[in-house]
């Protein structure tokens, strides 16, 4: 418990040091954009320092003591760590953005990013844990006894991490833009440099245990403003997740100007009837029911195929605790997802007047809070809004540093060492990992500058990629001994082909190049949800490929699957193996 108190105390001490700057905070607070916001900037710096110092204080001496500590950690604590690892700019900023722009359509992201955990837990968690490999590429290479597939697995893990990062960098860029009042390009460049430094520093710290503290701070920064906003605008504020229901109804039915309430720009608190905000697949949003279902499905399948999510199960010592920690993790994630629509609904009313201007949808969480005219709190309110923005950045930071490290290690460990240069020394591997981190961060920043889509949409690409390629390999690999190397190749090729086609059409569309049947592919194989077709197709190809080929899964692997992974009685399995040899 004292860890939390330390962290909070540290946070306030660092705030106190910067205290003289506060006078300026209040005067700068009124403009939505275009100026340096000193309060939020201080909070951000304080927060990052807190994370690093807490990491230093709680540093584990070596990997063994880390896992030893990990064993003692309660499922609740482990759940917080899972949630902190999961919550990114996409959950923190992107979801509200989609709902703000496309109403009910945006809920497909809320459902998609939580429902996948059910699949993961029910279909794969126990089996993955018992298989006991350390990375997705390790599992794929081992289960399908192929060095080539191991390389492909590593490459896929890198691609997935990469596209996951692009959305995060866009979020980091937007928040830096908001705090520093500079243009998007410089914001991305500065944000990328800071996150890279942060990753390299926290990477040097080795394994730390500050994930729980990160969760508490991030979720607090997200929830505090919702309570204040709902209280101020006269809704049931004690549980804002329930209280905002009336806001949704107000938006749908319209709300006559409420006496004495306004946004920071002086417009009345009220809105003309806007059912398009909540009605399913409203024509005004241009989104259809098919797209809703395709996105929800792709995101769910993708969750169960994301390397950095699956990875969490390899190392949990006890099966029962592993399951409990997933359930707690899902619950803690849901706390954020239950709350995200609050910002959308409040933001919709506060930005109802066109004079507010075109707000960047991806920053609507912060704008909604900023448009809230909470005079009673004085200069404290801008600071709370600043904490919200800083929370968004930390959510992105923790995810990005994890992904950069995962991508770099997939490169140095799985590709460079295992596939290309088995003779590489430990030192060379380390160097390769560092270089890969830097190269990857730079490349991600460049792609993020292209502004290819909203944060949530960009991250959805990673989910579809994982759903098309990695998910089928795990599902069939764990549940069917019959799936063999040929089948795996067929499946991977089919899944990758669908991905390449979808991404090709997407990228060409962005650069105004029209390919044949562009509208058709854009609708049915959109970059945000191509896994709705790709994943079932990859599974089908995997099954057909496995059936037509004579190349049977080696008996050792089948024995391992039966005995170790599924707990069949060893003597029976041995008998069957002997019988088969005799045939």
């Amino acid at each position: 418990m004292h860890r939390y108190i330390n962290a909070i105390a540290l946070f306030f001490i660092s705030l106190f040091i910067c205290e003289p700057a506060y006078a300026e905070v209040a005067t700068r607070a009124t403009s939505l954009e275009g100026s340096l916001k000193i309060g939020p900037a201080i909070i951000l710096i304080a927060l990052l320092i807190t994370f690093i110092v807490v990491g230093l204080l709680n540093r584990a001496k070596d990997t063994a003591t880390y896992w030893a500590a990990g064993r003692k950690i309660s499922p609740v604590g482990a759940g917080m760590a899972i949630a902190s690892n999961w919550m990114s700019a996409a959950s923190f900023l992107g979801m509200a953005a989609i709902m703000y722009g496309a109403g009910y359509h945006g809920l497909s992201y809320v459902v998609g990013w939580t429902g996948g955990y059910v699949l993961l837990l029910v279909l794969m968690a126990s089996q993955i844990r018992r298989y006991g490999k350390y990375t997705a590429a390790d599992f794929i290479g081992d289960r399908f006894y192929s060095r080539g597939l191991r390389g492909v697995g590593a490459a896929l893990a890198i691609f997935v991490s990469f596209s996951y990062c692009v959305g995060q960098f866009a979020g980091i860029g937007l928040m830096f833009k908001w705090i520093l009042g500079i243009n998007y390009m410089w914001a991305v460049i500065i944000g990328a440099s800071v996150v890279l430094t942060y990753t390299l520093i926290s990477g040097m710290l080795g394994v730390t245990k500050n994930m729980q503290i990160q969760y508490v701070i991030i979720i607090a920064s997200f929830l505090i403003p919702t309570v204040i906003l709902l209280y101020h605008y006269g809704y049931f504020w004690a549980i804002p997740q329930i209280g905002y229901g009336e806001i949704v109804t107000d938006v749908v039915n319209g709300l006559k100007p409420v006496e004495g309430l306004s946004n920071t720009m002086g417009h009345d608190y009220g809105i003309l009837p806007s059912p398009e905000f909540a009605m399913p697949w409203d024509p005004a949003t241009g989104q259809t029911a098919f797209q809703w279902i395709a996105i929800a499905f792709s995101l769910m399948i993708g969750t169960a195929g994301l390397p950095h999510v699956i990875q969490r199960f390899y190392v949990v010592p006890k099966a029962r605790d592993a399951r409990l920690s997933v359930i707690w993790g899902l619950f803690f994630i849901c706390v954020l997802y239950w709350s995200a629509p609050i910002y959308t609904a409040v933001g919709k009313i506060l930005s109802a007047n066109p004079e507010v201007g075109k707000l960047s949808k991806d920053a609507i969480v912060v704008y909604a809070a900023q448009l809230g005219d909470i005079e009673a709190l004085g200069a404290l309110w801008p600071l709370i809004v600043g904490l919200l923005a800083a929370g968004g950045i930390s959510a992105a930071f923790s995810t990005v540093s994890g992904l950069l490290v995962a991508g770099a290690s997939a490169f140095s460990h799985d590709l460079y060492h295992r596939v290309f240069r088995p003779e590489a020394s430990q030192k060379q591997q380390m160097l390769a990992a560092r270089l890969a981190t830097i190269v990857m961060a730079a490349a991600v920043a460049i792609v993020a500058l292209l502004k290819l889509g909203l944060i949530a949409q960009l991250v959805a690409i990673a989910f579809s990629l994982a759903g098309c390629t990695i998910f089928p390999l795990f599902l069939l690999g764990l549940w069917w001994s019959g799936s063999n190397r040929t089948g795996a190749w067929w499946g991977v090729i089919a899944g990758s082909l669908v991905s390449v086609i979808a991404l090709l059409y997407f990228v060409c569309g962005k650069f105004d190049i029209t390919l044949p049947a562009h509208a058709f592919f854009n609708y049915y194989l959109n970059a945000w949800y191509f896994a709705w077709l790709g994943a079932p197709l990859a599974i089908l190809c995997n099954v057909i490929g496995s059936m037509v080929s004579r190349n049977k899964t080696p008996v050792e692997i089948r024995k391992f699957l039966a005995v170790e992974v599924h707990g069949y009685k060893p003597e029976k399995v041995e008998e069957a193996a002997k019988e088969e040899q005799a045939d």
Binding site: A278, W338, A576
Partner: protein, 285 residues
């Protein structure tokens, strides 16, 4: 027991324990799928395109407005007809972020032409001045713009004077009084909804596009599930945004409990090696 125990196949579980586990997994996945996708299909089946009252308001006056606005010589439709028309346009413009820019342009053009006809003599000058002042006020919001407080007050006074004329002409408020309720919100839209137009004729292009635009923004998919309120929410919204997430946690919880019970019942050891390791560690202390 069968002899083919070497193969692992989800659909061919070999032991009673495995059969129970597979049943548990299948039930969980089916509940999950029906809850998520079944409900959406139910919505699709029930959905009825339902227009907002503003659409009826628009369609009631639309053809007459068009014939006469296109040809002023034939005589203007009555003031109340035109006010009903502008009112329906404002209802769509009030959706702000939901309305596409190119559609806003069409709406603003039709709105401004009708406003001009309603203002009568000197309307053109009034509109020009109003647009100019509103633009200046918008610029003054930016802290980079250096507009003195006095200048600002002057701008606001001009805008207010013109706007009360507009409000009276549009029927949003009686002369000398402030608009109330939704009319107040509509009046607040004016600074962004009025544009300079040459004359009170709605162009052919706008005439062709307008009915489609009104349909697009004023018809919604509604059904009994969307119109029922539950703890403040439209029911379908609550179900998808909150209940499904609660259900996900519950499915995981129930699955986990049932699996544990199943494992105990059939004596299935999940962590056999782990236990022995711990025993070894204890012994070495």
């Amino acid at each position: 027991m069968t002899t083919k125990v070497l193969e692992v196949n989800f659909f061919k579980p070999v032991s009673l324990h495995a059969k129970r586990s597979v049943l548990l997994i299948s039930i969980s996945v089916i509940v999950w799928a029906v809850a998520v996708f079944g409900f959406q299909f139910l919505l699709i089946a029930l959905n009825e395109p339902t227009p907002e009252p503003a659409l009826a308001q628009f369609e009631e006056v639309w053809p007459s407005e068009v014939t006469s606005a296109m040809n002023v010589e034939e005589g203007m439709p009555s003031t109340s007809t035109r006010q009903q028309f502008t009112d329906s346009l404002l209802m769509v413009l009030g959706k702000n972020i939901a309305v596409k820019d190119e559609h806003k342009k069409v709406l603003v053009s039709a709105f401004s032409a009708t406003l001009l006809s309603l203002l009568g003599d000197g309307g053109k000058e009034k509109i020009a001045e109003y647009v100019d002042v509103s633009e200046k006020i918008r610029i003054s919001y930016d802290i980079a713009a250096e507009v003195s407080e006095e200048q600002k007050q002057k701008l606001f006074a001009t805008q207010k004077r013109l706007q009360s004329d507009f409000e009276a002409a549009l029927g949003l408020a009686r002369a000398g009084s402030e608009p109330e309720g939704f009319d107040k919100l509509k009046a607040e839209l004016l600074p962004m909804s009025v544009a300079v137009v040459d004359n009170a004729i709605i162009s052919k292009d706008v005439v062709a596009q307008l009915p489609g635009i009104m349909d697009l923004y004023l018809i919604h998919n509604r059904n009994v599930l969307t119109d029922t309120t539950f703890i403040g929410f439209p029911f379908h919204y609550w179900y998808t945004a909150q209940f499904l997430l609660i259900l996900f946690v519950l499915i995981c919880l129930v699955y986990s409990k049932m699996l544990d019970r199943n494992n105990t019942k059939y004596g299935f050891e999940e962590d056999p090696e782990e236990d022995s390791e711990e025993v070894a560690a204890e012994g070495s202390k």
